[in-house]
Symmetry: C2
Subunit: 488 residues, 2 copies
């Protein structure tokens, strides 16, 4: 049976909860007195629909039904989960909980998105305090897995388990915090950074942009995969966490931040940290953790490269600065020879656990070769912006030999035919002189407006004809024109 | 002419500098009195060689030459860049600089990797203080782009420009900090978090692992792409940065961290932050920033998914929990029909800037379909671990129609032939009833030890035969056996 969630407060956070529940197949009943609530919810849902389902390699359930309600009483009817995301005022939250508990199922879980209040504060005055917990998510709620689940003695462990199960089932990672403090855990770290960052801006040391760059080009990328302690464990090297603390412990007494109320690094605290770090990461050696970290960083930085953002934008700029291959016909020394269209190392994230390049990455490299060939004949970003391009209609790949991460590969490209709307290309991939794969492609020139075949512009047609004629004198490559399964 | 760098201190940080210079084509002269220096350097270089070159989509220059030297005097000969990475003791660093300046070129730049010392402290007592700057990198130095360049009045602006140019040329992002403070910028933020995290462990609120999870499943992923202020600008929504500060400003007075020495949020400071944030991010609307952020997060989380780590490991677990497709032959209702082998949404990072799925991602989905078919006939992780698998020898793809991000696609798979070492597959990709692409593959069973063709195990052979016979009664699919460019 389809489950039902009630969302009280449909701003950025409440809307994010609603979107996550909906896309995970729950029906959602929303209460928000804001006259703009429908528009705002629609915008959050649009963002969630384009980004969240593709995170998974399986199809999500059919989207649930979203309904808007004029009262809390109406919204919570039949809901097994009720999520409160109203502004951070305790009196307001108490009012909401009062209306909720008057109308909801006693078995429903009532989660609060509060950033700062402790669950015992929220439970004050409730008839059934055991129903109320903190479930603090992170924006964007429909993408980031973390939710802090904070409970008190009023909550049974069965109820906490049920909350964890529900949160996990909609794709969250519930971090169960059993000892409540103001602002829970993650926001304490965020608040410390926020305060220090305010000092840096106030004292004119760095601008907001410089501070952001100091995060996203450095430790931010590390923290996205390992967090603080595991990162330091790796940095401590073979000597481990105790060594790291011994080395950096003295800095606690130095004015390295404006925030000076620091705990004493007693032997007991050092042992606690080192022991917890062993429990957390001890299954891996430092060398293994280094390699895991590096593969994670490469994969994430290359992911950002695909988006042209952050550290990825820097890498794209470095590529452009170091570019050696031809980008136009007049840079080709001998147009009668195959053209070098790719020259690069095999990235870690192109390989499987054995270090061999994955099937689809061959086509990625061949696709890059096609893009470069198109650029050389003048079908570049400017031309494409004006509404013409070549689309691949057909591809035939032969895998001849394997290649490992880090190997330098090159692709040589021949034009087998180029006339009218058609372009027939032949790529060969090598590591040194060793042939790794071949790829044959038929491309059709299209109008990007109609998405239909159309003749290319005259400059493109002329450049294509020139290369096709020059390449026509080369012997036909072995393997061209093959069909799958053809005998040798 | 090949440039030369001298590296003084070859630990994790110095070794990382050496590796980056070498892989960027510089010769490196290393001084480190540690008898283990060669082994340690070799290990850092191994890690760098497998991970760094593939960050770029171009080939890096030929690797430079690494030499080991017994004295600083010898190491700095001919070096245009000298990098000091010895332990954090000012007396030790002063000794190193004395030996360096006695032997090095006056035009050489002497960078210090110090985490905490101000450049004016390092320059004390130097004959040519203008040669010395802080260039503070982040571990792993061969991957992360951030380096903090901190200068004093003793450094000319021409020298600072030259330093920036060199750092950029080896793939760094130099963040130039002109107002020196202890620990520069990034480490002040790190130190604030470190101090707060120590309190959390000491007070028994969270373990090291829980703290790491609170980072890497939440704000860590955000910070890897936007940093602190731009993330908050987006969170503030349409009302912008001033609104955000107004909303969260009061928390500065609350005990949300143990670190309580906070700056006053004067109107002037609020205006400064809001103005700097406009300069930094004002070119984008909040809606645009949200979409950029979401695309970045999806790409990075999916990158981690490929590595099976952090937020990506959570997503893999969610996939397994929600899996509906068959994983074995006995789960197939009607083996005489094509088998559903992929059912998923098109992720944002599979698409180009127009939102259309990229060429190589079609093969990624078809490759996933092949993997699933292999699993169904028993060629699963256990079987592969025992040393057998199928390798793709040949692939033919036809692109029939386009598909957008977020669309739900499915792949239906037929076995055209399965006998001996050969497996001939036919995949059709659909969005609903709309045919998007077909893919034909010849796979060969191999021994993973010899990497040569070998017969599959008897259970695999029998399952394959069973499906192949059942599928033999289906009509031959249109387009099977085509070669590239064949008429219709």
């Amino acid at each position: 049976m389809t489950k039902t969630a009630a969302i009280i407060g449909g701003g950025v956070i409440g809307g994010g909860w609603a979107a996550r529940f909906l896309l995970m197949g729950w029906n959602v009943r929303l209460f928000d007195p804001d006259p703009e609530a429908r528009r705002k919810m629609g915008e959050v849902l649009d963002n969630a629909r384009r980004s969240m389902p593709g995170l998974f390699d399986i199809a999500l359930p059919d989207e649930g039904q979203l309904t808007f309600h004029d009262s809390i009483k109406d919204a919570v009817a039949g809901a097994s989960w009720i999520q409160e995301s109203v502004p951070e005022r305790l009196d307001l939250k108490h009012e909401v909980f009062q209306s909720v508990e008057a109308a909801c199922e006693p078995s429903a879980i009532v989660g609060s998105s509060t950033s700062g209040f402790r669950p015992s504060q929220l439970q004050q005055g409730a008839k059934r305090p055991g129903q109320i917990v903190v479930t603090h998510p992170f924006n964007p709620v429909y993408l980031l897995p973390l939710v802090e689940l904070v409970t008190t003695k009023a909550n049974t462990s069965a109820m906490a388990e049920q909350a964890k199960e529900t949160l996990t089932s909609i794709g969250f990672y519930p971090l169960h915090i059993k000892k409540e403090i103001d602002a829970h855990v993650a926001d304490r770290l965020l608040e410390a950074v926020w305060r220090e960052a305010l000092w840096l801006v106030r004292d004119g040391i760095a601008t907001t942009e410089e501070i952001d760059n100091s995060i996203r080009y450095g430790f931010g990328i590390r923290w996205a995969q390992m967090g603080l302690f595991e990162t330091y464990r790796v940095a401590g090297g073979e000597a481990g966490m105790k060594h790291f603390i011994a080395q950096f412990g003295p800095a606690l007494k130095w004015p390295w931040t404006k925030l000076m109320d620091v705990p004493d690094l007693t032997d007991e605290l050092v042992d606690t940290i080192a022991g917890q770090s062993d429990d957390q990461s001890g299954a891996y050696s430092i060398r293994e953790l280094e390699r895991i970290r590096d593969a994670n960083l490469v994969a994430m930085m290359r992911a950002l490269k695909g988006q042209g953002w952050g550290a990825g934008a820097l890498l794209n700029a470095a590529d452009r600065a170091g570019e050696k291959l031809a980008r136009s016909l007049d840079q080709i020394a001998d147009p009668a020879q195959p053209i070098l269209t790719v020259h690069r190392a095999v990235p870690l994230d192109w390989t499987d656990y054995n270090g061999h390049m994955n099937e689809a990455k061959y086509l990625q490299a061949f696709g890059d070769a096609t893009d470069r060939f198109m650029e050389i004949i003048g079908c570049n970003a400017d031309y494409i912006a004006k509404g013409g391009s070549f689309f691949t209609a057909e591809t035939h790949i032969r895998h001849i030999d394997e290649v490992h991460a880090g190997a330098v590969i090159s692709v040589q490209t021949r034009c087998l035919m180029g006339a009218g709307k058609k372009m027939h290309l032949w790529h060969e991939m090598y590591e040194g002189a060793r042939l790794l794969a071949t790829s044959e492609h038929m491309l059709i020139h299209v109008s990007l407006e109609t998405r239909k075949a159309s003749p290319p512009g005259p400059e493109i047609a002329s450049a294509l004809t020139r290369i096709a004629s020059a390449h026509a004198d080369l012997p036909m490559p072995e393997g061209a024109g093959r069909f799958v399964g053809q005998g040798r």
